[in-house]
Point group: C2
Chain length 201, copies 2
C-alpha cells in the first residue's frame, strides 16, 4: 500500500521539537507553526499527527514523564540498599544537560497545569508523576528499613515526605542555578540527608 512512517516515532520527534521551542522561547512561543518549523516540517504535517494543539501539549508532557520512567525502570538495583537508593534518587534529578532540558519543560508544563481552566489533562499528569516520586521515596526508605540501615523509631511515612520535598527542591535548584548548585554538590547533599537517617554504625 502506501508509504509507511513510524507513527509513534514521528510523534515523539514533534514533541521533542516542542521541547526545544519551549526551552528556547518559553511555552508562550509554542505554536503549531513554530513547532513545525523547529521540526523541519510544514504546519499541515504536524497537524496530521496532532489534530489539535492541546493534544500536542498533553502528549509532549506525557513524553517527559515516560522518558524519566523508562530511565528509572532501566536501573539495575544492585549494591547495598543505600547505593540503590542514591542511584534511584539521583535519576530523578536534573544533573546533566538532557535531564535539565526535560526538567525545564516539565516546569513549564507544571506551571501551565496550575491554571484552573484550560487543558485539564495536564493536571492529571502532574499528579501521576508526583505520586510516583513520593511512592519511590517511600519504597526506598522501606528497603533501607528492612536492611536495618535506618535509625530506630523513624516515622517512615513522614521521612518519605521530607525526602520527597528535598528531592524536588534540589531538582529546582539544580535547574535554575546549575552553576551555583553543581551536580556534585547536589549528590553530596542527598547523600548527607540519607546519612542523617541511618543508624550509627
Amino acid at each position: 500500500m502506501p508509504k509507511i512512517v513510524d507513527h509513534a516515532a514521528r510523534r515523539e520527534k514533534i514533541a521533542e521539537a516542542l521541547w526545544r521551542v519551549v526551552r528556547r522561547d518559553g511555552i508562550r512561543a509554542a505554536s503549531v507553526r513554530t513547532i513545525a518549523a523547529e521540526a523541519g516540517w510544514s504546519a499541515g504535517a504536524v497537524r496530521y499527527y496532532f489534530p489539535d494543539q492541546d493534544g500536542l501539549l498533553s502528549f509532549a508532557m506525557d513524553l517527559v514523564s515516560r522518558r524519566v520512567t523508562e530511565r528509572v525502570a532501566a536501573i539495575q538495583p544492585k549494591g547495598s540498599a543505600t547505593t540503590i537508593a542514591l542511584r534511584y534518587l539521583e535519576e530523578a534529578l536534573p544533573l546533566d544537560a538532557e535531564r535539565r532540558a526535560e526538567f525545564d519543560v516539565w516546569m513549564a508544563f507544571m506551571a501551565q497545569a496550575q491554571a484552573e481552566s484550560g487543558a485539564g489533562g495536564l493536571r492529571a499528569h502532574v499528579d501521576t508523576v508526583h505520586d510516583g516520586l513520593r511512592h519511590l521515596c517511600e519504597s526506598l526508605l522501606n528497603a533501607l528499613a528492612a536492611d536495618g540501615a535506618l535509625q530506630d523509631g523513624l516515622d517512615v511515612r513522614r521521612e518519605a515526605e521530607r525526602l520527597h520535598a528535598l528531592i524536588d527542591g534540589l531538582a529546582l535548584h539544580a535547574a535554575i542555578q546549575p552553576d551555583r548548585t553543581s551536580a556534585a554538590r547536589v549528590r553530596q547533599l542527598l547523600r548527607h540527608h540519607l546519612e542523617t537517617l541511618m543508624a550509627r554504625q
Copy 2:
C-alpha cells in the same frame, strides 16, 4: 493641573489583574487585552502605564517578590530562636489562598525565565529571590547556632542549602497538591526538620 491618580497603585492593580489571568488560564493567555479586560480598563489605558508587554511581565514578577519581602520584613522577631525561625520560614510557604496564588504566578514566571532567549530580566528576579531565601536560611541557622540550639559540629552552610531545598520542595508540594499536603502537615514537616538539627535537651 490635571487629574491625578496614584500611578504606583494603578500599576499594581494592573499587575494583579495579570496574576488573575495567569492563574486562571496560564501565562499563554496573558495578553495586553485580556489583562485590560480583567482589570476593567481599555487596552490603551493599560499601555499608558506599561508601554510594552515585557515591562508589564517584569513588573508583575517583581511585585510578587516585593509582596513576599514586605511580609517577611513585617515579621516581629520575638520568642525563641526556634520560634522565630519557624515563623520566618513559614512565611515563604504558600499555606493560604493568597500566598498560593502568588506562588502559582511565581512558578509560571520562573518557567518562562528559564527560556534562554527572550525577557532576560526575569532571570535576574529569579536569582535575587533565590539568593534571598538561601541567605534567610543561613541567617536563621546562624541565629540558632548562636543560641547553642544546634547540634555540635554541624556544617551550617550545608544545612542552609538543605533547608533551602526542603523549603522550596515543600512550597511546590503545598502548591500543586494542597489537599494532600495540608498547611498543618507542611508546618509539621518543617518543625520536624529543624528538630533533627537541634541539640538534644
